[in-house]
């Protein structure tokens, strides 16, 4: 599928977005692949006191203290899968790096810019805030996550 897209894309110079798609509680989500640093298997996190419930804690990523966000909890869904099989996607937004705990990584997608849809306004959904775009691949709706919204608000303190 990606090959086809590339063939048509090359001469017309269509802006394409590469996305890493993954599963959270059986739903398809994705992030811009440029913000992904690495994917690693789950590790047991050290929990942080006084943190929101979706902050799983921190893990040791080769010497860096990496905060882990449980994406299912963050998106307000049930985390149903066996936790030991979870995967952590390490993403960097601006100058912050953190890990997203997801159920499984599924694919890398190249989506032309014009196939991206703006998500509809849905007042009832808190979750809506985290999705910046929607697209359809093989009849599956892929949500593109707004990473800035997913991150816990950084509590700036004069150090």
């Amino acid at each position: 599928m990606t090959e086809e897209l590339n063939e048509t894309a090359a001469p017309v110079e269509v802006e394409e977005k590469e996305l890493l798609s993954f599963l959270v509680s059986g739903q398809d989500y994705s992030v811009d692949i440029m913000s992904v640093r690495e994917i690693r298997s789950g590790a047991s996190a050290t929990s942080l006191p006084h943190s929101p419930d979706y902050v799983r804690g921190v893990i040791n990523l080769r010497g860096t203290v990496l905060p882990i966000i449980d994406l299912a909890k963050r998106l307000g869904m049930e985390a149903d899968l066996d936790e030991s099989r979870n995967v952590i996607i390490v993403v960097a937004v601006e100058d912050r790096t953190f890990g997203l705990m997801v159920d499984a990584v599924s694919d890398i997608l190249s989506i032309p810019e014009h196939e991206m849809q703006t998500p509809p306004e849905m007042r009832a959904d808190v979750e809506h805030n985290f999705v910046s775009a929607l697209t359809i691949v093989k009849d599956r709706m892929i949500r593109v996550l707004d990473l800035n919204a997913v991150m816990p608000p950084s509590r700036e303190e004069a150090a």
Partner: protein, 761 residues
Amino acid sequence: MSDPMAEIRASFFIECEELLESLQDSLELMDSGEADDETVNVMFRAVHSIKGGAGAFGLDELVAFAHKFETVMDMVRNGDLTPDHELVKLFFVCGDKLSDLVRQARDGEEYDPTQYADTLAKLDALIGEDESDEEEIDFQPAALSLELGGEGEGTAPGLPDLPGLPPLGGDDGADADAAAASQEPVLHIRFTPETALYASGNEPLYLFRAVRDLGDLTVRCIEDKLPPLEALDPEKAFLSWELTLLSGEGEAAVREAFDFVDGLCELTVTEQTAAGGDSQPDPVETAAPSTGSPDKSGADTSAELPTPAAPSGTRAAPIDTAEPAEKPAAPPADKKAGKPQAKSAGSKSTGAKKSAAATPRATVRVDLDRIDRLVNLVGEIVINQAMLSQSVEEAGLPPNSPVRTGLDEFLQLTRDIQESVMMIRAQPVKSLFQRMARIVREASAAVGKEVRLITEGENTEIDKTVIERLADPLTHMIRNAVDHGLESAEERLAVGKCAEGIITLNASHRSGRVVIEISDDGAGINRERVHQIAIDKGLIDPDLQLSDSDIDNLLFLPGFSTASEVSNLSGRGVGMDVVRSAIQALGGRISIASTAGKGTTFSISLPLTLAVLDGMIVRVAGETLVVPLNVIQETLALGPDDIRPFGPDTHVVNIRNTFVPLLDLGAELGYREPLVDYANSVILLIAQDDGERAAVVVDSIEDQRQVVIKGLQDSYGHVPGIAAATILGDGQIALILDPLDLISEASGCTRPQSSSELTAG
């Protein structure tokens, strides 16, 4: 274009810092009477280099000030002035003002002439005296280059008037009238630099500027030897210059200007009177292309590029006399005329050679971030290595197997590396102490006390961050010592002490920590008064019986100030409590010792580095935590009778008949509900320096070891009660407790019922 300039500018200011430091060193040598000829030379060179760089950046005020300073120093160098106590004091002030100017220039602050007027006047007074002296000995000093400019007389457009500058010191500038102008002897100078001159970073422009200060100068570049462009070796010198100087200065004065490049060039100076002058080389000041602006060429040298002999003529005559003169011309002319003959050429040339090879210390400037990354990586190695050892152990290899031995050696090496890397961040406290010397000078002048600062152990090294963050508390303490610690001269004399008070600043390593002591030889703490003030201010209960050290520690209470009047220096309400919290933030402790009539000593004990911490590893509700060792007063197991219910939700612990609030670490951090029964649990007695204590319950104490600190702020943000994180030997992250934050934020709830909503916050 702006970026490289900014970089060059930045490096100039870094150099200034170093130069100012060496200036301070020399001044201290002078002050202690150990100065030799070289000391003055070092000072002179430092100020001269600052002046040179400042000129290149058009920092006129800095140039003007440095120039005066330099002039007076030159007089000392020539023996016209004796560096007595007063003069050295003035030099100290000049050094301070100079560093102020440098700082102002760096931060782009407004120049406030009133701040410097006083000092400049003093310098002028010295220069003035000297000038009048010389007039008697010497013939008319060539102060007339100014006059020439003013009257529009002479062959070349003379140096223009200097409107922005304060009036020049010597009154005799006016006396030196232009009448002598045409009778000025003409000096022909032929200057042929060798390649080595450029290689050692010299710049003909500066030399010519120095010559220009002697009188009316025209410069012509000779390009005969310049090969065609394709044959040009940019590293070689091809150009030479012909300079024509209209000046009363002798040949020696000219040679002196080229002192610094002695042996690196061919220099011929021929003197002739103007009347019998040969046909002069054409003045080229109008022909000189203006592209070689002084700023640009100055910038080139600052960037430490070897200045190649420029293939084009643009650099050939960077000095055109139309260029605005940054410095007053008269004083240098005078000073150079001072004793040209008296100088022994030999001693001068050695000085010049030393400065030509001016590499004071072989150092590399490295971005602090890079060092931090290195420190981090080494921390990783240590952790990794611990993990490796653990798995080797688990593999059940015999103790003398090659793997084990190899691992032991590896362990040794990692330790060495870690120490060396920590050393990179460490810096001697010297720069800090020098700043304090200035504080002492200013503070003592403000309160009119004679104070002498003695520094010891200034090569003791501490982490750079610690040094930076120590500056404020130390400043405060030094001011306190001058203002409150030392008595006035009369009082001192009355008790048989020397009128001059002594403050000692001492740094030393003591059992893995750095101890900095600030002592004065004043009257010591007036404990009765301190006690009374504390009672008056309602800080303590009047009936409380206090030991001497308890009373001393009252000084650290917020809002305590002994000065009955708010003086300019101290006593503005921010007191020793601020000092103490600043020290504590660095993981340090502060204590007081005072003897009546003998003085007071404050000791600050600091960790060597902020990157490593001694901690106690504890477990609570299945989590591993690190408690900084310096706050743990003792650890104990609770007996059933030690714990008493206090409020509906709280307990206190009876420790040798004092009651300390009980905190459940697991509950405070939200890991678990408070326990039903705390009997037999392990507690850590945590003491804040203000005497506030808390008994913190943990499940078990695992270990005591050094841990590498990993900040949480950058990746996650501040977590209440948590200072940072670290990585343990098994690769797991453990949080490092911030006990003071924890205690101040604690709910104190230690009863399970009705507690859930309290702990949640």
